[in-house]
Amino acid sequence: MIESGEKEKLMELLRERLVECGWKDEMKALCRAYIKKKGTNNVTVDDLVHVITPKGRASIPDSIKTELLLRIRAFLASAAL
């Protein structure tokens, strides 16, 4: 799926959906709050990734999960032929 470039397309679609529904803004706000709490000079990208990832994964809307799953299944089905 990666080689055909389909993964890249789906990633783009996912990004678009996550921005549309405000998930990205929510994550941004969480990051800002964390940075404010810790102090700008005491936070690294790795810190942020570790802190935000579980929250991010948990708050993805079901509609987006469903849509992506359907598309992946459809691709796999068509590729198997």
Binding site: E3, V49, P61
Partner: protein, 549 residues
């Protein structure tokens, strides 16, 4: 082409990045440049010619963030970058493959280098279709900036200081100068509210008070015709005379009716429409502008800015850019609603009622990239056919005084009805417009970059202070406008003829319709000169201002 914008002064490189630069200079960056590919949306990734999936050389994983070592090009995932650095001495700097961003392994953090950003962006630009790609990498024009600065200084207060030092024996209170109630002449609160704001727009006020408007030699007046500018001058003189009794701006109203005949009636009008119409009247009555270049009438000098609109083809990345002037910006309220949320999706937004609209939210909405509908497909010059595109607005040049209009009146031409949106909107007293400038917005399209280009507006500050808020209460048909003025650290409520000092909480809680912000420097200077000194026995004799009765 170097960044000079104080907001983006390059952070000091970490020791490891500095060491790397000393030893390797730009060679690593240059080698990498060939491998960078950018999507039409602006995301730059490192893709080497192999079609293989990049994998971590330690764990063969490919699902975490992957980093490419700048020295030996080996790829490690986020868990193993440290291991690589331990194995190979000095291999501390890597590039995030997906985002083309620098990473320091030992600091475990993202690092920034304008030289690197320059290289990434250059590659992006080179790959884009020629001409009209929306970015001009040449040095910014400096002459226009200087001209604007001089213009702002001309409207300076040196002359006004003389006028302000005059003492009015009739001034009983220590209210600042220029605070005077305006009588309602029959549903004219829409006019009174805007006039109060104009009275205290620093450069606008100074223009009329320093006699730059020489009404004695006005040709129109001498031939007994109406002149809007002269009437405004008279109005300013009256309000700043020191007389505190409510004033009736009848002459001004009549003059304005002549200009905007279609709005001449005793019905309530829209304050924003009045504002635009008055500025238009000033523009037309003023000196005829040259064919090219900016207009120098006071309305344009104070309120006009420039908007940039970019339309990007989603297939090839070609961007078409246009510039348009503006006298104010109309903003839609940000409601936090998004098109693809389900009703079942409670985890993300429990209830829309808790979302508070803010001015920054509205500005974000204004500068957000907007996908144009399939019925608005844009004809791409590069693809030579209509394509789906994305449009994004940004502010190319800020005015001296920024008027922000909140669109609270919704009109439905099909159903022939209109309604008012009462939604509360929070607004700040200090506003930094930097994130909404074209330079910031366009920079963000390239990912996390420090490198600035296109001549950031450095001479003009992006910080603004609020000085007036026009609020509306009631319904569309029967409503009332009230203006709050911020003078010398005190808020005043101007409700037609009644002026009272109020606490800042009252203003914050009000339902704003038009917000007036002045560039910080101009605002503070203006406030210094509003000092109303107590009358002393040895004061200078009262000097009347021309036009004051």
């Amino acid at each position: 082409m170097m960044s000079r914008n104080s907001m983006y002064t390059n952070p000091k490189p970490c020791k490891h990045l500095a060491d790397y630069k000393l030893r390797h200079g730009l060679s690593g960056y240059n080698l990498l440049q060939e491998q960078i590919r950018t999507t039409p949306s602006g995301k730059s990734s490192v893709k080497n010619h192999q079609t293989e999936i990049p994998r971590c050389c330690f764990c063969n994983g490919y699902q975490k963030r992957l980093y490419l070592c700048l020295i030996c090009s080996s790829i490690s995932c986020s868990s193993h970058t440290l291991l690589h650095s331990q194995c190979e001495n000095g291999h501390d700097i890597a590039v995030d493959i997906e985002r083309s961003e620098l990473y320091c392994v030992l600091c475990c953090d993202q690092v920034y280098d304008p030289d690197f950003d320059k290289i990434v962006m250059l590659k992006h630009l080179m790959d884009l279709p020629r001409s009209g790609n929306g970015v001009d990498v040449s040095a910014g024009r400096r002459s226009s900036k200087r001209r604007r600065l001089c213009s702002a200084l001309e409207l300076d207060l040196k002359k006004t200081k003389q006028l302000v030092s005059m003492r009015d024996l009739r001034a009983k209170s220590c209210y600042p100068l220029g605070l005077r109630g305006l009588n309602n002449l029959g549903s004219t609160c829409f006019m009174n509210s805007v006039l109060q704001a104009l009275l205290h727009a620093p450069p606008f006020r100074n223009y009329f008070l320093t006699g730059q408007r020489n009404h004695e030699v006005c040709r129109k007046r001498s031939s007994d015709r109406l002149c809007l500018l002269c009437d405004i001058y008279v109005f300013f003189s009256a309000v700043f005379s020191g007389d505190r009794t409510p004033y009736s701006p009848a002459q001004l109203l009549y003059s304005w009716w002549q200009h905007s005949a279609n709005l001449a009636s005793y019905e309530q009008q829209d304050a924003h429409e009045f504002f635009i119409s008055v500025l238009d009247g000033i523009h037309e009555n003023g000196v005829k502008a040259r064919n090219t270049g900016e207009c120098h009438c006071v309305a344009h000098r104070v309120f006009s800015g420039q908007l940039r609109s970019d339309v990007t083809c989603m297939s090839c990345g070609y961007t078409s850019t246009t510039y348009d002037p503006f006298m104010d910006i109309s903003l839609n309220l940000d409601t936090g609603n998004c098109p693809s949320t389900d009703l079942a999706n409670k985890s993300l937004k429990p209830s829309d009622n808790t979302y508070v609209s803010t001015l920054l939210g509205c500005l974000d909405l204004f500068t957000k990239p907007e996908k144009l509908g399939s019925d608005q497909k844009f004809f791409c010059e590069n693809c030579q056919e209509r394509q789906d595109s994305v449009k994004q607005m940004s502010i190319k040049r800020l005015p001296l005084v920024l008027c922000l209009h909140i669109k609270r009146f919704e009109h439905f031409p099909v159903r022939r009805m209109s309604r008012k949106i009462d939604r509360y909107m929070q607004f700040p007293f200090c506003l930094d417009m930097n994130p909404y400038l074209s330079s910031s917005v366009v920079r963000n399209r390239f990912g996390n970059r420090m490198f600035a280009f296109e001549g950031d507006e450095l001479d003009t500050s992006t910080e603004f202070e609020i000085f007036a808020v026009v609020t509306h209460s009631g319904t569309l048909d029967s409503g009332h406008y009230v203006t709050y003025l911020h003078l010398k650290d005190q808020w005043y409520k101007c409700d037609d003829a009644w002026i009272t000092a109020v606490e800042e909480e009252v203003v914050r809680a009000s339902q704003c319709y038009m917000l007036f912000y002045a560039q910080k420097m101009l605002y503070y200077k203006a406030n210094e000169d509003l000092v109303c000194q107590p009358v002393s026995p040895r004061a200078d004799p009262f000097l009347p201002i021309a036009g004051c009765c």
